[in-house]
Symmetry: C2
Subunit: 500 residues, 2 copies
């Protein structure tokens, strides 16, 4: 039997420039790729047994969504044109025709060391469940993505000013030099005086650790609290990346359902050691945890002896009249670890986050973060410190609140009429509509159709522990899409939904 | 029995501004702190039972070395003036006089939850072995620290130019927005075309993962390759932070001695799964691994089925005529993972590093890094990409080589005469002198005396698995100290050594 070629991953990528994709064509991207691959096989540019680029490489090369490439490959497999080999990739099918293959007598290529097979226990980091957006989603005409900043409103002039000041020639040592495990004092100070008090949190610099976004805060706390037989609990549905982190680190994850008051607090939590929650706005349902539930959770933390990780990811951009203070602010028992970042207000690409906790825990978290990365880059800490100090962040949040309120007003006026077949939920102060198709159509299919119509939406199923749940729900976010695109985008989406 | 006050950590810090330290006094910093604390107790500003600031808080507040504060506290404990309570801190001794304490009948303060006791298994991240430098070492007059950039030679104008270009208004989305798990294409490309070829490494962007310095590269690879019963080997002496990382992650570390050819390759390596080495310049001995030893190591990796982590930390700043290509360049078996960074040439504070490996491993490392931090901040990646593209890094390395060569010439001319009682080693192309006192005096004591004389040096003992080894060795680095301070600094150090 002829071998599939396994060493031509690099060579495989050479075909990418030969594939033409045109967004303006009415044919979907997936189908364009599919037809182009067929063409290349027909023309002999792709031989039988030849390896295709990975979905990722192809998607990057063509600036299209990975899903589109995957869809094209799967279609071609259905059609018998491609074959897939586990852990190897996609190949032009050997059974394609009866003609003998060229080069089949070539020396067998050296097996690459299969490192991953040998050293992991089936828990590869890439195997998590993710909210998949096209990498180039900002280029889509109607990006209804959730919790993303409106890039066109980024306060560039102010950021540049702060960056210029931070790069002052007298202070080079303070950001270019090795700061060992320490953060920028100025940034810590501003977090304590400018950000935390807005949320009702009183903390001193020694209670704060700067992280690479909220993501790293979750990772550090999880790693620090890892031990034998440790059990972590999280909301179900919940934040997929928290789940992916916990899967890497903990022995067991308990998925606790949420209702209209947030996570259900009952005996299921009693056996847990750590509970991850998003009280201000439950991810992904956007429901705020009720006062009663907060009280129950804090009490049970003490009686059942567990710690709470509170991810306050959207506290700063919540534009409701009265935003509830975080659990941390009523943290009478020292059991709450508070997480927030500048990713939802300033910029996620800067990766500036922080955690707040009691001092001894922060000291150890700092030592562990030191081992992981030393510290968050100091130039960014210094620049952000100035940005906060000058009040630019406060002003930005105010501006965002106004923009978001206006956007919600636009959408609220039309969404019921456009989507009569949907159960539609929008919580006060949130930029997100949670849509559930009463007819039960598959949100993933709606998403794919929408992508072809230049619209990005976010299905809910990756947030559930059981990925058969939430199948007909998706989220529409208004934080990133320009205001004047909301009406045409929703109209087009409603038409697209009609064709599924 | 009267309780020691345990809730006054914040209040404790209030005394810091009352303590006066003057570097110009001939009295050492430690002793100044000691006498100041005594004074405050005498004056009643510090009451019996009162808690003192943590060593760190005090050191930061006074801009002195943590060691100096610790030294002062220990002295005061010896003298019966202070007491220490495990996990609580330092207190003014209750036995100091017979007078009754005020407030001794106060309500017992609430016990803080002792989270760390409960949840870790005695492997606290802070308990590692570190090369301790004063946090404010750049302010010392004679900073003979190792592997640190000369901050006064930082190419600030060029860096600012690149930063300005990176912050172009049309490209905001490319660094402010959420890039999910992806790196900057431009930076990856420049690493492949500008940095790696200088070191004889051929790689494509899909072989490269951007990390937060070399530190994170070690952490990610270790976490990815963790499994039950895994054994990691490292050089002894070796890089303490690698050891600290391995202690967090692996079940067992094998410490393999080094000789004049580098790590000894024998049956001790055969049972290991992962071997961490610093072939270009063994850390901390600065010895280059011989060609013969490299060959043996690569061969054994295959026969004994282990992977090699190659930390090429100083390949770019090595100024010897012919720098050996890394193991990765001869990586015929796909078993070498290459690590490097911009920390030794451009700036450690920026935290720009990378790892190079086969594509499937990089994919998983990328997914894991995604869980940990998503990605290295994109604005820094873009800026560094331009810095590389414009050839500024090449020029910088050339400049550094010239400066370093000149500094070594200055030191080489005088060091033998100044330190006749020492065994002195300086490898070709290295900015470091490894000094061993033939009389066996304690390098830690020399270090402390030197600090008081405004000199920073680095004892070798934290690099040994057995911290009783290497006791009389220390390193003198010339990379960070201004050239004109070398001669007076070495002279003063030689005098200081004479007083130990």
């Amino acid at each position: 039997m002829t071998e599939y070629s396994r060493t031509t991953r690099a060579a495989a990528n050479l075909i990418i420039p030969l594939i033409k994709v045109d967004r303006l064509l009415s044919l979907g991207v997936r189908d364009q790729i599919r037809s182009e691959i067929s063409r290349l096989i027909a023309e002999g540019a792709l031989e039988q047994g030849a390896q295709l680029p990975s979905c990722r490489a192809m998607a990057q090369g063509l600036s299209v969504a990975v899903n589109s490439v995957l869809g094209a490959y799967l279609k071609l497999i259905d059609e018998g044109i491609l074959s897939s080999k586990p852990k190897s990739g996609y190949f032009v099918s050997l059974e394609l025709s009866a003609s003998p293959l060229q080069g089949s007598a070539k020396t067998k290529t050296r097996e690459t060391t299969n490192i991953l097979d040998r050293i992991t226990k089936g828990k590869l980091p890439s195997k998590g469940s993710y909210i998949v957006r096209p990498p180039d989603w900002p280029k889509y005409k109607y990006p209804f993505v959730c919790n993303q900043i409106p890039v066109n409103r980024f306060p560039l002039a102010q950021w540049r000013e702060c960056m210029r000041l931070a790069m002052n020639s007298r202070d080079v040592a303070s950001w270019a030099g090795d700061n060992q495990y320490w953060d920028s004092d100025e940034f810590l100070q501003e977090v304590c005086t400018r950000i935390l008090p807005r949320r009702g949190v009183a903390a001193r610099p020694e209670n704060v650790l700067v992280t690479l976004g909220a993501q790293q805060a979750i990772y550090i706390i999880s790693s620090l609290l890892r031990g034998y037989g440790r059990v972590v609990a999280m909301e179900d549905p919940g934040y997929p990346d928290a789940r992916n982190i916990f899967e890497q680190i903990f022995d067991e994850i308990r998925f606790i359902p949420v209702d209209d008051e947030g996570i259900i607090v009952d005996e299921r939590l009693a056996e847990c050691d750590l509970v991850y929650v998003t009280p201000n706005r439950q991810f992904p349902t956007t429901i705020a945890m009720s006062a009663r539930r907060r009280e129950m959770l804090l009490k049970m933390a003490e009686s059942a002896d567990f710690l709470i990780i509170e991810d306050d990811y959207d506290g700063d951009t919540d534009f409701s009249e009265e935003v509830e203070a975080p659990l941390y602010s009523g943290n009478r028992n020292g059991r709450v670890i508070y997480i927030n970042s500048l990713s939802k207000s300033v910029a996620p690409g800067l990766r500036l986050g922080f955690l707040v906790a009691q001092e001894d825990l922060v000291s150890e978290a700092r030592a562990l973060r030191g081992l992981m990365i030393r510290h968050t880059p100091l130039l960014l800490q210094k620049t952000a410190g100035l940005f906060l100090k000058f009040g630019y962040h406060d002003a930005l949040c105010k501006r965002l609140h106004a923009i978001f309120e206006q956007r919600i007003a636009i959408a609220s006026g039309i969404i019921d009429d456009l989507f009569p077949q949907f159960d539609i939920r929008n919580e006060d102060g949130s930029t997100i509509f949670v849509m559930t198709d009463k007819a039960g159509r598959d949100a993933q299919m709606i998403k794919e159709k929408a992508l072809q119509a230049n619209i990005v939406i976010e299905p809910l199923w990756p947030c559930y522990s059981d990925d058969k749940k939430g199948k007909s729900s998706f989220r529409i976010g208004l934080s990133a899409i320009p205001s004047d695109q909301i009406e045409p985008g929703l109209t087009l989406l409603s038409e697209t939904v009609g064709t599924v």
